[in-house]
């Protein structure tokens, strides 16, 4: 079911998708492989930004900007602050046994193989024709209506979850008082 893209006649959007995918995968790998925690974080920022680019390519603008704000803006800043707080740059990570690394690499290859073969051999989901109904389904207006009508209760629970997480984070990272 896999069709090899024609490189010579690639449209600009296909080229853009290929470049974005390459950036996403390579920076995701470097974010894991790099030894210094600060470099990990910077690579991960690039990876998340390129995923925002994918969302823009899918014409999901609101999702792209929410991804940019939440992941790049909030989560990565939190991680960067934690890394700076811990001062881990003195490279105290012990050398792992070779069997662990080998196991990780083998599992990576096997999992890729299994998942991709599952998707290739499953029912052909894409028969080459994609319907376009023409109706608007992903503008902010429509998303807001769906979010606040059908998904009202989960929306409120999400806000409660964020509040609880905030209180929990404050309580956990507060210095414990000495026992009297």
């Amino acid at each position: 079911m896999i069709h090899i893209p024609d490189i010579a006649n690639a449209t600009p959007i296909q080229i853009l998708f290929s470049v974005l995918s390459l950036v996403t995968l390579s920076t995701a790998f470097l974010a894991i492989y790099s030894k210094k925690p600060m470099h990990n974080a910077i690579y991960l920022v690039i990876c998340f930004t390129s995923i925002s680019g994918h969302y823009l390519l899918l014409n999901a603008q609101f999702l792209a900007f929410v991804n940019l704000i939440v992941y790049v803006g909030a989560i990565m800043i939190l991680m960067l602050f934690t890394i700076m707080l811990m001062n881990l740059n003195n490279e105290n990570e012990v050398h792992k046994p070779r069997i662990t690394r080998l196991g990780a690499i083998v599992l990576f290859c096997l999992m890729c193989l299994v998942l991709i073969s599952i998707f290739m051999n499953s029912k052909p989901i894409a028969d080459g024709s994609y319907d376009v109904t023409g109706e608007d389904y992903q503008s902010i207006k429509i998303l807001g209506k769906i979010l606040l009508n059908e998904y009202m209760v989960p929306f409120e629970f999400a806000s409660v979850l964020l509040l609880v997480a905030m209180i929990g984070a404050v309580l956990l990272s507060k210095k414990e008082k000495l026992e009297k």
Binding site: H3, P5, A31, A60, M79, T82, I116, G168
Partner: protein, 106 residues
């Protein structure tokens, strides 16, 4: 306006997401630095989010994108609490190597 998937194809998004997810799994197994393990979890969550968005475009349905919002909210909460736990672990044990966290071992 024509569908973007006409030019790219949903299967390419599936392959991208699968490989990204596997990179995340690889990171969890390969590294012992707890912060990098967290980053790998974020990569896995992002791979799933990307697939949700792609299938939302494929079905011309907004529900997939709504689900991505909720998953982002949960990810933000998870990271906040997880990093707080990491900070308190670091304060007590002066390391965040997950290989050293075996106090529960009998």
């Amino acid at each position: 306006m024509e569908n973007i998937l006409d030019q790219i194809g949903i299967e390419n998004y599936i392959f991208l997401s699968v490989i990204l997810f596997c990179i995340g799994v690889f990171g969890v197994l390969y590294r012992r630095n707890a912060i990098v393990v967290f980053m790998s979890i974020e990569i896995m969550l992002n791979a799933v989010n990307l697939l949700f968005a792609a299938f939302s475009t494929y079905h011309q349905d907004a529900q997939g994108q709504i689900f991505v919002f909720f998953s982002m909210a949960v990810a933000a909460a998870e990271v906040a609490v997880g990093l707080a736990i990491l900070v308190s672990i670091f304060r007590n044990m002066h390391t965040i190597d997950v290989g050293n966290l075996k106090n529960l071992k009998g």
